[in-house]
């Protein structure tokens, strides 16, 4: 593995940023130690390139080289149509973040505060030190990824959401992240979400660019703890501009009898990498991981999922679908570990993709490692083109080629969208996809 000169200078710039962040943050020594450790991990790992098996189809060097600012200053205002985003789900607690920093004036803070404890990440370090420390970076012990480590080492903007035991949120929390920058910047956000025993919550997170063309490199980490009998639905929509780079890592742990549903919808971005890691630590935990990607032009997306069945009687179910047009490309890599003790595991994985052009590509790789003997596991992947006979059927009824194609695309995307349990958001996505295909 050789590191190119521009990358070395970028690593130096990042190192300088790390030093200045460390000196500025007034954090407990244990946290400083954790951040230092993450930094050390990163320096061993380096920025991933294609010789790294995990980034085989998604080298990052060229994107890293474009970054000019590693620790952008915090902003407080942005020119953005907040109402447009509120309309997605009018009956939700909306939290707007600019480059990861909470914008109190436009957010529903007081309403949400009545229901659960939440604050900015930096505030949580002060207000909830024990809980903060318990959860920060804990799940990443299992997962050595350069971007997650950089995030742990440096990120200090983001949200802390804590649902108390038995707490049932009346409304959905919708976190709306807006990114903006004048120089090509590296923007990091980090959330911690804790669902205590028997709590229930719906969380939507959306990602937007304030500007349609500007490049920035977002690196996001969300650490989630779902306790016994808790239910958390966490749906994400990535709708950034087609110059933006988006790396996100979700680390979730689940305890006994818990439910965790995720849905990762990606439409925007120039280059996207989603890492979704779920560790099933308690019996009878159920996890649903769904995803939909609609890519065109030069867009690239890489979804890596990992479900670790550590204990018996858990279920995980994955459905990832992609539509790739023009020269876009995609990767799906789905790991499932079933540990020796995890008998009676049900683990299913399915990746279905549609290529609309000769130049579009998709690489899929299921990776099942099963060490228990009494389990039900399956995986399947398919890549196809548009069904010509279905197209002809619709045309023969009077539909134009374009609307027939659009109808088939929407139908293909539909079974992922139908897994979303928040009605207005589901409806919004349906019409977003219809608009995308001009239906």
């Amino acid at each position: 593995m050789s590191t190119t000169l521009p990358l070395l200078s970028q690593q130096q710039a990042l190192s300088d940023a790390f030093k200045s962040v460390s000196s500025l943050l007034d954090e407990r020594i244990s946290l400083k130690t954790l951040r230092k450790k993450a930094w050390d991990n990163f320096t061993i790992l380096g920025f991933p390139n294609k010789s790294n098996e995990e980034y085989k189809y998604s080298g990052t060097e060229k994107l890293i080289e474009k970054i000019e600012c590693w620790n952008p200053e915090a902003l407080t205002t942005v020119d953005f149509d907040f109402d447009k985003v509120r309309k997605i789900n009018p009956n939700a607690y909306h939290l707007f973040l600019i480059n990861g920093k909470l914008m109190p004036v436009v957010s529903d803070i007081e309403l949400l505060e009545k229901e659960c404890s939440f604050c900015s990440l930096s505030q949580a370090a002060k207000d909830y030190p024990e809980m903060f420390e318990k959860h920060l970076g804990q799940s990443s012990i299992h997962f050595q990824d350069a971007f997650a480590q950089i995030n742990l080492a440096l990120a200090h903007e983001g949200l802390f959401i804590h649902m108390k035991p038995k707490q049932k949120l009346h409304k959905t929390i919708q976190i709306n992240q807006i990114f903006t920058t004048e120089t090509p910047s590296f923007i990091q956000t980090h959330h911690i979400i804790i669902a205590e025993a028997l709590s229930e919550a719906n969380i939507i997170e959306t990602y937007w660019s304030a500007d349609n063309t500007i490049f920035y490199f977002g690196n996001h980490l969300t650490e989630i703890a779902v306790s016994e009998q808790a239910q958390l639905n966490y749906y994400r929509l990535q709708h950034e501009n087609t110059s933006a780079v988006h790396v996100s890592t979700i680390q979730a742990t689940q305890q006994k009898d818990s439910h965790f549903d995720t849905n990762t919808i990606s439409i925007g971005g120039f280059w996207t990498r989603n890492n979704l890691n779920i560790i099933l630590e308690g019996k009878n935990a159920v996890s649903h991981l769904n995803g939909l990607q609609i890519m065109s032009h030069q867009q690239h997306i890489d979804n890596h999922t990992l479900v670790d069945h550590e204990v018996p009687h858990c279920e995980s179910n994955q459905l990832y679908k992609g539509i790739f047009n023009q020269k876009s490309s995609g990767v799906f890599n789905g790991k499932i570990f079933v540990r020796k003790d995890a008998q009676k595991t049900n683990a299913y994985q399915s990746s279905k993709n549609m290529l609309l052009s000769e130049n579009a590509t998709i690489n899929t790789k299921p990776q099942l490692e099963i060490y228990a003997d009494d389990v039900k596991c399956s995986h399947g992947s398919s890549t196809g083109k548009i069904d010509e006979s279905a197209l002809f059927y619709l045309q023969a009824r009077g539909l134009s080629t374009d609307s027939a194609r659009a109808m088939l695309m929407c139908a293909f995307a539909n079974d992922v969208i139908q897994t979303i349990r928040i009605e207005p958001f589901k409806g919004y996505l349906e019409s977003l996809i219809e608009d995308y295909f001009n239906l």
Binding site: D387, S389, F392, Y393, A396, G398, L399, T401, A411
Partner: protein, 252 residues
């Protein structure tokens, strides 16, 4: 209504229609019968505009226009309807939704505004009752999980909603039990009028007990080899197709 002259078409190098001729006038019902492989379904697909087939010779004039020059959707918008022999399942596309869009595009082509939602629903309700299609089926994905009979009924339902000028029924009777056959035939008969024409492609005479044709044609090796009144169908039922084949070969 439609005039097909010396139509030659096939897949790749294989010629299937070898100089096919037929004229159908408004309000007429023509039955096309013939043994397997005689080119009946090819004819239906070529008329509907399926791309897999290449037309090498001949012309088809539909309502005064060159049909072969048109895209499949324009043929439908001009009033041509094909009830498919094997209606395919399209998961995720709602039957009603797609029909609504199809009807709007057809109306738009003819310079008409889309139907009001309530008028469309009334239309759907009426036509559903006509073909005895249960409400649930119309709201489901196109043909998904439908039985063979339900799929064929759905074809007739779509035809009833779109009200074409010329309907081609491609072996709509195949795979139907007698009750389903009667329902499908009833639907067709209700749609018969002095303007609307039908080409009924069938292998068996049975369907023609219910849909009484004005003319019966026998197709063999890509051509019509014999035409006659409705009684011809009975003759075919009795004698099979072998005598037609022999007759045809003796002419050659």
């Amino acid at each position: 209504m439609i005039r097909i002259k010396n139509l030659r078409a096939g897949i790749g190098d294989k010629e299937i229609l070898k100089g096919f001729n037929l004229e159908v006038k408004p309000g007429e019902v023509h039955a096309i019968m013939g043994p397997n492989g005689s080119g009946k379904s090819t004819l239906a697909n070529v008329l509907a505009g399926k791309e897999d087939y290449t037309v090498t010779e001949g012309e088809v004039i539909f309502n005064g226009k060159d049909l072969l020059e048109m895209s499949p959707e324009d043929r439908a918008r001009e009033g041509l309807f094909l009830a498919f022999q094997y209606p395919i399942e399209i998961p995720g596309v709602s039957n009603i939704n797609f029909l609504k869009n199809a009807l709007s595009e057809i109306r738009n082509y003819r310079g008409l505004p889309p139907l009001e939602a309530k008028d469309f629903l009334a239309l759907i309700k009426e036509k559903q009752a006509m073909v005895e299609l249960q409400g649930g089926l119309a709201n489901r994905s196109v043909n998904e999980g439908f039985s063979g009979g339900e799929k064929k009924r759905n074809e007739i339902f779509q035809m009833a909603v779109l009200e074409p000028a010329l309907a081609i029924l491609d072996e709509t009777d195949s795979g139907l039990d007698i009750d389903a056959l009667r329902v499908v035939a009833n639907g067709v008969n209700k749609l018969r009028n002095e303007k609307r024409s039908f080409i009924v492609i069938t292998h068996y005479q049975r369907l023609l007990d219910y849909i009484i044709p004005d003319f019966v044609h026998v197709m063999y090796q890509g051509q019509i080899v014999k035409s006659g009144p409705k009684e011809l169908a009975l003759e075919l039922e009795e004698k099979g197709y072998d005598w037609i084949k022999k007759e045809d070969e003796s002419i050659v």
